[in-house]
């Protein structure tokens, strides 16, 4: 007769299993195949240091680290812009105020009609000591433009680079407009004589190591996100940037050590830890305790952090506003202008944003040109708003729809303020809460009347302007032919004055049409621990800038 399981047996089995599980679960985390990490960051810094630059902990609050190191697609969120640029480099980069471009892997470039030639740095090494050459650049653009790449940005390159569109559509195997006459020269043949917009687009991309990724063809490698499943993306993160990956624990941190062969200069930091925080308050707590040296904080924490002695606070607005958008199909221009006059943006900046940002002077600002002298300015004037509504024959019984995905507690106070301002002048607005239908309803010409979101206008007029002033088929359904012509002129111009005047005219159009009500510049409140030396200057939404000058940065203690 089979022996029955007794109570004693069950107890013994359970105790053994629980003990084994507890021991296994408490084992140190890490990725397979990586060298064991040092016991503490401080000890690691001391052991590895020859210059004593210390270990910097860089925090970034985001929802997820996503799954890999290469993060070439923007679906990874802004994290890729910070983390990625630590290990990888591009041909060029924006400077700190986005007024000019700086050399990166390309030490110089020249335009000749429709051709742009990049002269690459020689003696640049990948982190595994392989040589960087023009072949890596060509290979990288083949990845970016591949039909299986889900990146939407290549549509800009499809417009500008000869042969890119055909490659993107899968009708050809190579991009005829990108060639490498030798190992250190890359030539782009453009469809028109683009200048800044082309450079702006090129500055977006980093270069990938061909020698690590070309074992399979791209048709085999890229489908189903294959690139993100390679050892390169999941473990090694080999690049040419100032730091190289030592240890990557997904959803926790990326540990970098300095690149001894960095071409811009010797890096002084021993290590840099990129720490992902899934919650802004958690990051704020870490900044306060000193566990994290650099990171952003919510505006609500600004006053409290100002009282602290061990940190500096840097206010760096990004290339974006927070704005309300009005449907040009359903709200006429005078009413839109009235809605702008009715809102006290300065009061909102002072209260809701705790004074950490400013009221925009125009819906876009580019290239350090500031705001044009003839751009219509709106201030808080409810009487003027009422007068405009009367001129427009506004029907006070009408109710406008303000579409939101959900009523976000972080923004509810702002919504209440603004809806209150509109109500004061006789414009009734009600919430239209739509959940995940938010995206689909935007594509319906009269699906809603008002939206609120970030208004990212980017580093170049061709980036953001066309998304707002020339969109007949999408919210805000504004179609201004003059704006499209000006954008085309700017794209092909090398004349700074011509570009400036074009930007000013776009600003005027934006203010006159009033489809966008910019409430405030998107605040970037950076906290930098005073132990960080060398003039670290973080910026909101790093964009494509890599001008952090890591060569100068050290951490005391």
């Amino acid at each position: 007769m089979a022996r029955q399981l007794t109570r004693r047996d069950f107890l013994q089995f359970t105790a053994m299993g629980a003990s084994a599980a507890a021991l296994a679960a408490c084992a140190p985390a890490g990725t397979p195949g990586t060298a064991p990490a040092s016991t503490t960051a401080a000890e690691a810094g001391a052991a590895a240091s020859t210059t004593g630059g210390g270990t910097l902990v860089f925090g970034y609050a985001q929802k997820t680290t996503y799954g890999n190191l290469c993060a070439p697609w923007f679906y990874a969120g802004s994290q890729d812009l910070y983390q990625r640029r630590l290990a990888y480099s591009g041909l060029i980069q924006w400077n700190s105020d986005f007024s000019d471009f700086l050399p990166d892997l390309a030490e110089s470039w020249t335009f000749d009609g429709n051709t742009c030639t990049f002269n690459l740095r020689k003696n640049v090494k990948w982190h595994d000591d392989a040589d960087f050459t023009a072949e890596d650049v060509l290979f990288s653009f083949l990845i970016i433009g591949h039909p299986d790449s889900l990146w939407t940005s290549p549509d800009t390159l499809s417009t500008m680079i000869v042969g890119f569109k055909e490659y993107r559509e899968g009708t050809v195997e190579e991009i005829s407009g990108i060639t490498a006459p030798d190992n250190f020269t890359v030539v782009f043949e453009l469809t028109e004589a683009y200048r800044q917009p082309f450079l702006s687009a090129i500055a977006t991309y980093t270069v990938n190591p061909k020698h690590l990724l070309d074992e399979k063809s791209l048709d085999e490698l890229l489908p189903e996100e294959g690139l993100c499943k390679t050892e390169w993306a999941l473990e090694t993160g080999i690049g040419t940037g100032p730091f190289k990956v030592v240890n990557y624990v997904p959803d926790q941190f990326v540990e970098f050590e300095r690149n001894e062969n960095y071409y811009r200069g010797e890096i002084q930091l021993d290590k840099l830890i990129y720490n992902a925080y899934t919650d802004g308050q958690a990051q704020a707590a870490a900044l306060e305790s000193g566990e994290c040296h650099v990171g952003t904080i919510p505006a609500s924490e600004y006053a409290r952090f100002q009282e602290m002695d061990h940190v500096d606070i840097l206010l760096n607005d990004g290339l974006a506003n927070t704005a309300f958008f009005f449907n040009a199909n359903t709200i006429e221009e005078k009413v839109r202008q009235a809605m702008w006059w009715a809102v006290d943006c300065q009061a909102i900046v002072d209260t809701f944003y705790y004074g950490t940002t400013s009221v925009p002077g125009a819906i876009f600002e580019y290239g350090g040109f500031g705001v044009g002298p003839d751009v219509p300015q709106y201030s808080y004037d409810p009487e003027k708003a009422k007068a405009l509504l009367e001129e427009a024959g506004w029907d006070g019984s009408r109710t406008l729809r303000f579409m939101v995905e959900s009523i976000d507690p972080n923004n509810e106070a702002l919504y209440s303020l603004v809806l209150g301002y509109w109500k004061e002048v006789g414009i009734n607005v009600e919430y239209q809460v739509v959940g995940a239908e938010y995206g689909n309803i935007q594509l319906e010409p009269e699906g809603t009347d008002i939206l609120y979101s970030g208004q990212v206008w980017g580093a170049d007029p061709s980036d953001g302007v066309k998304a707002y002033l020339n969109v007949p088929n999408k919210f805000p359904y504004l179609d201004i032919p003059e704006a499209a012509e000006i954008i085309n002129q700017i794209n092909l111009s090398e004349d700074t004055e011509e570009i400036k005047q074009g930007v000013y005219r776009l600003q005027e159009i934006g203010s006159e049409t009033a489809c966008i009500l910019p409430i405030a510049r998107s605040p970037g409140i950076w906290v930098v621990n005073k132990k960080v030396k060398g003039g670290l200057s973080p910026i909101y939404a790093l964009w494509t800038r890599n001008d952090w000058q890591w060569e100068n940065i050290t951490v005391e203690g």
């Binding site: 408490c26 985390a29 566990e291």
Partner: protein, 319 residues
């Protein structure tokens, strides 16, 4: 007993099947689609309707919900839970990455709350209406009344920021993966997660013990000359344990659910956070994978609780 366990395990299969159908139905009925949910407003603005449709087709979202469910089920029984729409990684990999951390957190919290709750409950019952009892009662009521996430914030503020005794959050110090460092980082989240369960168990143990201590067989045991320790542990406690086991089994799903908030407050990379992100993005494959795993955990914990009854009470036999 082994036949009983096998029978219960087999019954789990149709139960899990039913759970997945119900959950998939709920997700399918939710408005919107993952593609529009996962894009930022700027990305959405740059894409045409054709681009969106192409993205949906690439992700298999253009098929009817029942078809998608059957396809998912067919792969799931083979051990393939598909790829996350949001993370673009295998669901099994994402779950494996997070669930270990959550199990450790929940497991340690459960252990501490069980041992602590039972011990304190017994102590409270053995000295009823004393100062100690009143103090422990107040302790229990505050645990029942205070949300775990609020306690977590309080602990961070006092113990981490003001006193600097413990880290503010995370699973380890940046760059440090030693066991000691991990344990140090677990102290606050475990405290926040276990308090409510400990408080509840303490009260149940107290009332259960008080009831048993007044029983005749306990009086008989004392009359027979057994020492007090043997009376309490060998007789009273064993009989007071049954309702406590029930409460404990019911608390396990609550702990798993509560860990979501605690993981957020303490920046703890567990499965709870991943599920929240998946819910916002309508990431069906990841949600279904998470539901599947959670259902298995809950059903297994119920089985363990039932088996524990037979351990605690020899009169209970399973055939």
């Amino acid at each position: 007993m082994s036949r009983y366990i096998l029978s219960r395990l087999l019954w789990m299969i149709p139960l899990i099947f039913g759970i997945t159908i119900i959950n998939y139905g709920i997700y399918a009925l939710a408005p919107g689609d993952p593609v529009s949910a996962m894009l930022t407003p700027e990305e959405f603005r740059s894409m045409s309707r054709e681009d969106l449709d192409a993205r949906r087709e690439a992700l298999g979202l253009n098929q009817p919900a029942p078809v998608r469910y059957v396809l998912w089920l067919g792969q799931a029984v083979r051990g393939n839970l598909g790829n996350s729409l949001l993370f673009r990684l295998p669901v099994s990999q994402l779950i494996a990455r997070g669930i270990g951390n959550t199990i450790v957190l929940v497991g340690v919290a459960l252990l501490i709350s069980t041992v602590g709750g039972i011990l304190l409950g017994m102590l409270s019952a053995l000295r009823p209406y004393s100062r100690l009892d009143y103090a422990l009662t107040a302790f229990a009521f505050s645990g029942a009344a205070m949300p775990g996430f609020f306690l977590g914030l309080l602990l961070i503020y006092v113990l981490a920021l003001k006193l600097g005794l413990l880290p503010t959050g995370g699973i380890s110090s940046p760059g440090d993966t030693s066991l000691l460092d991990r344990l140090e980082h677990m102290i606050l989240p475990v405290m926040a997660l276990s308090y409510e369960t400990l408080a509840g168990l303490m009260r149940y143990t107290r009332s259960s013990m008080l009831e048993v201590l007044n029983q005749e067989y306990v009086t008989t045991a004392r009359a027979k000359g057994l020492n007090e320790r043997r009376v309490i542990i060998g007789h009273a406690f064993r009989n007071a344990l049954l309702p406590v086991i029930t409460i404990l089994a019911l608390r396990i799903p609550a702990l798993v659910g509560g860990s979501v908030l605690i993981e957020t407050v303490f920046n703890y990379p567990g499965i709870g956070l991943t599920m929240v992100q998946a819910t916002k993005a309508l990431d069906y494959p990841l949600l279904m994978g998470g539901v599947l795993i959670t259902a298995v955990v809950v059903l297994l914990s119920n089985l363990v609780a039932d088996l524990a009854y037979s351990v605690a009470d020899p009169r209970i036999r399973y055939e």
